[in-house]
């Protein structure tokens, strides 16, 4: 073969002809590589279980890439976002704030070739409320007129969901609910195709073949606990994505994930999975310039369980707030990759209040407050955490344990199994814990109501059972005047964090990713999730 090639080459006239042949061969190779397609591979730390978003509360990568929603929340800058038309080109809200009319984009095709119609939207939302679905995300629709009857099985359709014509959907709410539009942009509100989904029943979304959306990528292959592959939808209504194939590997071990990245087997490394590696990557001459970061509309916090002593006393809660040096925690533990938060609403969230009052760090004042509350010799307390989360929370808890000891808090760390942790918390019986919450949709309600609503405050073991708080939360949901609503939440925030000391706000962290040099235009989503739409990204 070698001799044959050599003979053939010798017959080609020297000079321009040979150069031309080389250029031609290079062109053919480039075209072949292009035909093979541009692939982006990432790692995900958990099997996403199902692509049926009605059955999934926290794995959003598939829905953000395979489905679309009536409205989309897009990232417009660091920590900034905007609601833009998605499958609906326009919408109208009635004067009383109860009736939403969506006009659908015409000619949008599902991956099975079916055209999107108003009936698909009605079917999608009714399916969520249908008790036979056993959906986990009914919270995003349980305020629709007739939803409760549908969920309890008293009705076999939802009266508040109507297809007015082929391209017009009307959704009627029981009461005015201002965050509704933002909720419609959440992954849980992804739109399904009735013709495809209905016959599959509970089997919908369990494999590549049983998944169908309108989004920029189509599910091609799904090997459980190993990987899933999505390919670009050539008929996508916004135009075909630049990436041809999007591979998501399920990698549960963070060290393995890091090594996969360093050996080039994955293209994007999410530092959230291994925060201890942040100094290594930022200092690395090779990777330092490959870091892409963005703010996160999310907050780290410590809870107070007001039904467990000593935190039934507001003075003790305030003392604990003052005993924590958040600046030091952020600098030493999180390499200053974030900002201190003082309230409930983090930076980047709608109605974020930069003027929110704060509490000072003062172990001496904290000790005095503890003494006033009847604990002059200090007090015993407990912080619970999930053992299987590794060092993520343990390090923070250990540093806080040492920090608050100066003020007289003797902390016992209780490492629990994940299932036991959540079961105890749901009963309102978990002692203090630390966690983080990122926005599902861009509205303060997603934070305030989640933690301090009548049910949420118990189910999250805060037990801040204050009737006036509930009234203000309801007002926030129905106040349609933007400025008045902002003022209402700012007042409520001060009342909760400073006056009632219901939790300890810590910080909002930047979300850092390290990307291979071939990855371009990768944008950290506005909310800072590890789940992101990859539509805009490019691969060289």
């Amino acid at each position: 073969m070698k001799a044959w090639l050599s003979r053939a080459w010798s017959r080609v006239p020297e000079g321009a002809m040979r150069l031309g042949l080389v250029v031609l061969l290079m062109g053919v190779c480039a075209l072949a590589a292009r035909a093979a397609g541009k692939t982006l591979t990432i790692a995900y730390n958990e099997e996403p279980k199902t692509s049926d978003m009605q059955m999934n509360t926290d794995d959003y990568l598939i829905p953000l890439n395979v489905y679309d929603r009536l409205v989309e929340c897009v990232t417009t800058g660091p920590g900034k976002s905007s609601l833009v038309p998605g499958l609906a080109t326009a919408w109208k809200v009635s004067a009383n704030g109860k009736v939403y009319t969506f006009h659908l984009r015409k000619g949008v095709k599902f991956h099975n070739g079916e055209e999107l119609t108003a009936q698909d939207v009605v079917y999608t939302f009714d399916r969520m409320l249908d008790p036979a679905t056993k959906a986990l995300n009914t919270d995003i629709l349980d305020f629709v007129l007739g939803a409760k009857d549908r969920m309890s099985g008293k009705a076999n359709y939802t009266v508040g969901l109507k297809a007015l014509d082929k391209y017009t959907v009307q959704i009627i709410l029981e009461d005015p609910f201002v965050p509704f539009l933002a909720i419609m942009a959440s992954p849980q509100a992804s739109i399904l195709n009735e013709k495809f989904t209905r016959p599959l029943g509970a089997k919908y979304g369990l494999s590549a073949d049983s998944t169908c959306g309108t989004g920029p990528f189509m599910m091609k292959e799904w090997v459980l606990n190993d990987h899933h592959t999505m390919v670009a939808n050539p008929a996508y209504w916004r135009g075909k994505a630049q990436i041809d194939t999007f591979v998501v590997k399920v990698v549960t071990d963070p060290e393995t994930m890091r090594m996969l990245f360093e050996s080039g087997e994955i293209d994007i490394f999410d530092c959230d999975y291994a925060t201890t590696q942040i100094p290594y990557f930022t200092a690395s001459p090779k990777w330092g310039k490959q870091i892409v970061s963005g703010t996160r509309a999310g907050i780290y916090y410590y809870s107070f369980n007001q039904k467990i002593k000593p935190f039934d006393d507001v003075r003790v809660r305030k003392a604990f707030q003052m005993a924590i040096d958040r600046k030091q925690l952020l600098e030493k533990l999180y390499y200053n990759q974030g900002r201190i938060e003082n309230g409930v609403m983090p930076y980047g969230l709608l109605h974020f209040n930069p003027a929110q009052a704060t509490f000072e760090y003062s172990p001496d004042k904290a000790r005095k407050l503890l003494a006033e509350a009847g604990y002059p010799n200090g007090v015993d307390m407990e912080i619970a955490l999930v053992a299987s989360t590794g060092s993520q929370w343990l390090k923070l808890d250990e540093v806080v344990q040492a920090m608050v000891a100066k003020a007289g808090f003797r902390v016992k760390l209780n490492q629990m199994d994940e299932a036991a942790f959540y079961a105890t918390r749901k009963e309102g019986k978990l002692p203090m814990y630390t966690s983080k919450w990122s926005a599902d949709f861009n509205d303060p309600d997603n934070f305030f109501y989640t933690f301090f609503g009548a049910k949420g405050t118990v189910a999250r073991s805060f037990n801040a059972l204050v009737q006036d708080n509930y009234k203000l939360l309801d007002q926030g949901r129905s106040e349609t005047d933007f400025a008045k609503r902002g003022k209402l939440y700012a007042d409520l925030e001060k009342r909760l964090v400073i006056d009632q000391a219901v939790w300890v706000p810590l910080f909002s962290m930047k979300h850092l990713y390290v990307v291979q040099p071939k990855v371009k235009k990768f944008v950290v989503p506005w909310n800072g999730w590890s789940d992101f739409p990859i539509y805009e990204a490019r691969v060289d």
Partner: protein
């Protein structure tokens, strides 16, 4: 022999039922709820209550256990709470990966362990003996996750010879099989060595040597066969152990096997999946133990006679 096998199989039925019973009720005693774990931070008490009722999780534990047993007898192990797929399909889908890993690990353990044990016994206290025994000590004592990380760092990240993780193609099997088989090879090497040394002291070996036989035929022809009796038994049991216990290796090397399924099921209180995985692994252990007994009886005529 047939009677012996039948008797052992009959004994295994109450063992299987007993194990599923213990696992089921242990999981019922510890706090935890599959729906709450499914929802995690997005907990909603109303949704939890409704979905629990829809999944019949509010039924008494005994009722649910009997329902599980009745289904299992029909070959239906139920549906995973978390993955929403039939348990039997999930386990059978993951088992080939676990089996390939375990068999390669066992092959490595035997191919390395037995020759190392023979050399160590024949050349007792020599340099090769010390090297092999040091190697086996390292294998037995080093935690799998640690040796796995070292291998990944050296052979994948630094040298780039093998993939870091995953399970596609023979190259991805090399590292996990060696890491998993290392501890077993150490055990086999030590067992072969001590067993061979003991046999070598017997009169018939002395007789063979007195007849003028060369050392190699004495060792391979006379001593090794008898010395391997306990080794073969351990090897058979080890395969069962490797099939059931590759959890850490599967996690670090990202292999979608039965071990990972079982661990995830425990963490998420996925009762049907865990029951299925335990039942499946119990059957494997019973089958391999039975195989070891039969093999032992076949190799040792004294056992057969008794």
């Amino acid at each position: 022999m047939a009677k012996f096998i039948l008797k052992r199989l009959l004994i295994s039925i109450p063992v299987l039922i007993g194990i599923t019973f213990i696992i089921f009720f242990m999981l019922n005693v510890v706090p935890g709820d599959p729906v709450t774990v499914m929802m995690r931070e997005h907990i909603s008490p109303d949704v939890v209550a409704r979905v629990r009722a829809q999944m019949h999780l509010d039924d008494p534990a005994l009722v649910r256990y009997v329902r599980f047993l009745a289904g299992a007898l029909r070959g239906d192990l139920g549906e995973s709470y978390k993955l929403h797929r039939p348990v039997a399909a999930l386990i059978l889908g993951a088992f080939p990966n676990t089996m390939v890993l375990a068999l390669w690990a066992a092959a490595f353990a035997w191919v390395v362990g037995i020759p190392a044990g023979i050399v160590s016994a024949v050349k007792q206290y020599s340099l090769p003996d010390n090297i092999f025994m040091g190697f086996s000590l390292l294998g037995v004592s080093m935690p799998v996750f640690w040796s796995a990380l070292l291998f990944q760092w050296a052979f994948a990240v630094k040298l780039g010879w093998l993939p870091v993780a995953g399970f596609s193609g023979w190259r991805s099997v090399v590292m996990p099989a060696i890491v998993l088989g290392w501890a077993s090879s150490g055990m086999i090497a030590r067992l072969t060595r001590s067993s061979l040394l003991e046999v070598m002291r017997n009169d018939y070996i002395r007789t063979a040597r007195a007849k003028g036989m060369r050392e190699l035929p004495v060792i391979l022809g006379h001593a090794l066969k008898n010395s391997l009796l306990p080794v073969v038994t351990v090897m058979a049991i080890q395969v069962a152990g490797l099939l059931a216990g590759a959890v850490i290796t599967e996690s670090v090397f990202n292999i979608p096997g039965v071990g990972r399924i079982a661990v995830n099921a425990i963490q998420s209180r996925d009762m049907p999946l865990l029951q299925g995985a335990v039942l499946f692994e119990t059957i494997l252990v019973i089958v391999f133990n039975l195989g070891a007994d039969i093999l032992y009886a076949y190799l040792d005529p004294r056992i057969k006679a008794s």
